[in-house]
């Protein structure tokens, strides 16, 4: 198992930006700070700054609650709850919506993306529709969604689904169409049927991009979750944050934000690992 998580920005650790040249490592080298140490340092300083700002009284707790208050709130919410549900229950409600929407987006987006990627006619016909809906802010069509589909779970999941769908669909179509022509020709010369071509060449070839699409989609999904939970929710992290904000309970707001960031980050890391495992050739030079 790899020990350091893959970094957000895939940058080599030593960059050839002038001197000194990359030195092949001498045998026994001294301890050097690693990426993880710097990250820890960075997070620690942020926390310290936060604590100092609030402890000094420069910022009122109403505007920014001190870290210890948020931590205390965390303990409280673990079983005490806020707005008739505990933090795990809010989290679970949100996760359910996210995963349901993700599942639907994958089930719809990947096959549709393949069809668009493989058949130019399908692309010509669907392109305008996708182009139209893609840049639309979910909040803009939220009123229509409510008018059309009500305020139940369907509307919430649908909103998140729509946010995830576009990236998945577009990445799939692009991935499928950018599978090397050479590889397609090679498989055909080895006697592949159309179905075998799809199954053994096009799908695996598009897989890295498809997973990237899912990662981007998930990000868009999180952004939309809170909007979705504007719709008459009774549970969910977004609902919790909004209600707390309305009652000016800032520590719950900050806590909710931190939980969302952590969960989103964990999911993203999981997907990156999955990508590394499923498509180890991705990013290799050949």
């Amino acid at each position: 198992m790899p020990t350091t998580p893959p970094a957000l920005i895939a940058v080599p650790d030593t960059l050839d930006f002038g001197n000194p040249p990359a030195t092949p490592a001498p045998a026994g080298r001294r301890w050097q700070p690693q990426a993880a140490h710097w990250a820890a340092l960075s997070i620690a300083s942020l926390l310290l700054l936060w604590w100092a700002l609030t402890a000094s009284g420069l910022i009122a707790p109403l505007f920014l609650p001190p870290p210890q208050a948020v931590l205390a709130k965390f303990g409280e919410l673990l079983d005490g709850g806020y707005m008739d549900a505990t933090l795990p229950q809010h989290l679970l409600a949100s996760l359910q919506r996210m995963l349901l929407a993700l599942l639907a987006a994958v089930v719809v987006g990947i096959p549709l993306g393949i069809v668009i990627g493989v058949f130019p006619l399908a692309r010509h016909l669907l392109d305008p529709v996708i182009e139209f809906y893609r840049p639309l802010p979910p909040l803009a069509y939220l009123p229509l969604i409510v008018i059309w589909f009500g305020i139940g779970e369907l509307s919430k999941v649908l909103l998140i689904f729509l946010a995830i769908l576009a990236p998945v669909l577009i990445a799939t179509a692009h991935g499928v169409s950018s599978v090397s022509q050479l590889r397609r020709q090679a498989a055909l010369s080895l006697g592949a049927s159309r179905w075998q071509l799809l199954r053994h060449v096009i799908l695996p070839g598009a897989l890295p991009e498809i997973i990237t699409g899912v990662r981007i989609g998930l990000g868009a999904g999180w952004s939309t979750l809170v909007a979705a939970e504007l719709i008459a929710a009774t549970r969910g992290l977004g609902f919790m944050i909004q209600s707390a904000a309305q009652f000016l309970v800032t520590d719950v707001v900050v806590l909710g934000i931190i939980v969302i960031a952590l969960v989103a980050f964990a999911l993203e890391l999981g997907l990156r690992r999955l990508q590394q495992r499923l498509t180890p050739w991705h990013g290799q030079h050949h």
Partner: protein, 258 residues
């Protein structure tokens, strides 16, 4: 087996044809080599034979039937390798047989044999991106050899190999060709390679791509009769023919430049 009749190919939007009036035939026991400078249409010709490119004029027949699509009877080794990175070396070589639903035991035997032939038995489990350029090219060759093709179409298959491996692969190709009774169409721009391997050699020239010279060298026969490679290649007859071909090529280029 393969029959090319007055073939012409013009790429969309180009004024000059990439191929013009090219006629060829390739029998089961022939090793046809196309030699020519960069851009003279060699890969285009191979693309038509493989069924990747449809002719603009003329026609291509395989066993009497027009070629309209790629097919399992015509295996291709590409100029730039076209391996599948999600499969390891073994699975890349086994790929064609698997597609055709070959019996697993037979498949394993063929794959193992072929990997041994190209000297890759050790790296069967490696991923393709862990190989050097020369190894990758050999995987591509093995994949074509392992398939159930009747013709091998090879586009500069030995370009990325060093002199030693290159000569080994040339000898391997001759052996496989002889044993398996498959027709071979080989593209190269290495004159020595062309002379050594060909039963028939066509010299091509660009603008428009066409055949300007046909030869039937016999060095391949001498090698099969047991003569030493190095001896053949330093034979004054070989060197003379090499120089004459080089001369034709140079004249071509000078005329072009003029």
């Amino acid at each position: 087996m393969l029959q090319v009749d007055k073939l012409g190919v013009t790429y969309p939007g180009q004024s000059q044809p990439a191929l013009h009036q090219v006629s060829l035939s390739l029998a089961r026991d022939e090793l046809l080599v196309a030699l020519g400078p960069s851009g003279c249409g060699k890969s285009t010709l191979l693309g038509v034979l493989a069924g990747f490119i449809a002719p603009s004029q003329g026609r291509v027949l395989f066993a009497g039937q027009p070629v309209t699509a790629p097919g399992v009877e015509r295996a291709v080794v590409f100029q730039h390798d076209a391996l599948l990175p999600w499969l390891n070396v073994h699975d890349n070589v086994a790929f064609g047989l698997k597609l055709q639903g070959a019996d697993a035991a037979a498949r394993e035997r063929i794959v193992a044999d072929t990997l041994r032939l190209v000297g890759l038995a050790d790296v069967a489990g490696k991923r393709t991106w862990q190989l050097s350029g020369g190894m990758r090219q050999r995987v591509g060759i093995a994949r074509a050899l392992a398939s159930r093709s009747q013709v091998l179409l090879l586009d500069e298959p030995f370009g990325a190999l060093d002199a030693f491996t290159r000569e080994q692969m040339q000898q391997l190709l001759l052996r496989v060709w002889q044993q398996s009774q498959r027709g071979v169409f080989l593209i190269t721009h290495d004159i020595e390679e062309a002379l050594f391997l060909a039963t028939e050699l066509v010299l091509m020239s660009p603008g428009p791509g066409r055949i300007v010279q046909r030869l039937r060298p016999t060095f391949n026969q001498r090698y099969r009769a047991g003569e030493d490679v190095r001896a053949i290649k330093s034979d004054p007859a070989f060197i003379a023919l090499r120089e004459s071909l080089l001369h034709s090529l140079f004249r071509q280029r000078h005329e072009e430049a003029a």
